[in-house]
Symmetry: C2
Subunit: 204 residues, 2 copies
DNA sequence: TTCGTCATGTAATGGGTTACATGATTAC
DNA sequence: GTAATCATGTAACCCATTACATGACGAA
């Protein structure tokens, strides 16, 4: 459990959430599953080890209420909650994770998590992530369509049904991405023209 | 690598494909990725160990061309291809896998694979799988909608965008399932009335 | 006082990937 | 003869899960 490096969707998600506000583990999981419930659900069995390991790497710090034992808050929450806060190193690492492509097998799951934290992501990185996702989906579409054309008429109706449903779903997501990319580009254009009074080309 | 029990989507997929026709590993993977390319892609690093293990469990048998060495087919395919064939036990196990629910974490990935082999699946099992999938999706919809209602107006526009896209995708799949379930029911009704001249209840 | 939920954790296991290593066959 | 693809395999590791275990707290 948690050997050495341990990047992963969960790590990204935890850092991303903690970037918003300090939290304890239990709440973290709730928010996670509310945020990403459509795509996946994490369990405590993976969350707590992950937190432990992030702690060991100095990316987050913990605040255990017992440690300030003499503080004397007799009523109101003498809890064993452990609140985690993102450190500067953690923020740095989060940006790296958001930016990096990741080892290809995630890409799929990673996209949803990255997207969820777009409001904390640089505009150019956002655009790159969206375009990366789109081109991956388009590759997949092309290869599946090719496979479908090769074996046409030799597949049963259920297989065909599945292929078509899949194809349509992916096409739908591509259209969605196109819209988002369009919006992002428009915003960037707008920002560019408002940031400089003279809207002339700067290089490219 | 391939410890003891080793059920999994891959095993199901391999048995399912082999149920159609005997094949060697390489082709198996190609077909797999053509069939399920929309959802996932398996690698040789998992396929071959899986085959080995299925072999050890007696669910498939291999045909190594070297073993019939004196057969003397000088021209035409003196290959090192190893063709695997499903055994009777394998077919039995396949039916079990198609029928069983599986340990909840698959359900998601398992559905696509199960669906891909619907033409080899009993009609009542098909219906159960479709309805199971639908009710799981509906549960998810409900919980996500609840979470969305709880935190409404406190989430940024990107998160909202993601939630909505996810919601719509799942809703779309539910509609698809509804249509399929309708068709299945209609076929069952038709089969029932054609199989027996007198359409009276037989027990259940 | 018991029950549900909040809250934190550990051990064993699981199913799959990446990266590597090798060789045969086909096409040019 | 050499490059691409077909074909088979192994070792190391990865990320997360299930199942279990524990305990505090609030409400009935």
């Amino acid at each position: 459990m948690a050997g050495k490096k341990g990047a992963g969707v969960l790590e990204l998600a935890v850092l991303g959430l903690l970037n918003g506000a300090p939290m304890h583990g239990y709440e973290l999981r709730k928010r996670l599953n509310a945020l990403l419930g459509m795509f996946r659900a994490f369990s405590y069995g993976s969350l707590y080890p992950c937190l432990k390991q992030l702690l060991a790497r100095g990316l987050i710090v913990e605040d255990r209420p017992e440690e300030r034992e003499s503080a004397a808050l007799p009523l109101q929450s003498r809890r064993s909650k452990i609140v985690y806060t993102l450190t500067a190193e953690g923020k740095e690492h989060l940006q790296e994770l958001l930016t990096e492509a990741g080892p290809a097998s995630w890409e799929d799951e990673g996209f949803g998590v990255r997207f969820a934290f777009f409001s904390h992501t640089r505009a150019d990185v956002r655009l790159r992530i969206l375009e990366g996702r789109r081109s991956r989906l388009e590759e997949r579409l092309e290869s599946v369509r090719a496979a479908l054309a090769r074996t046409r008429e030799r597949v049963d109706s259920y297989t065909l049904e599945l292929q078509n449903h899949g194809l349509e779903s992916v096409e739908r997501e591509v259209r969605w991405l196109n819209e988002l990319i369009g919006r992002e580009r428009a915003e960037q254009e707008q920002a560019k023209t408002t940031n400089q009074d003279m809207p002339r080309d700067t290089g490219r």
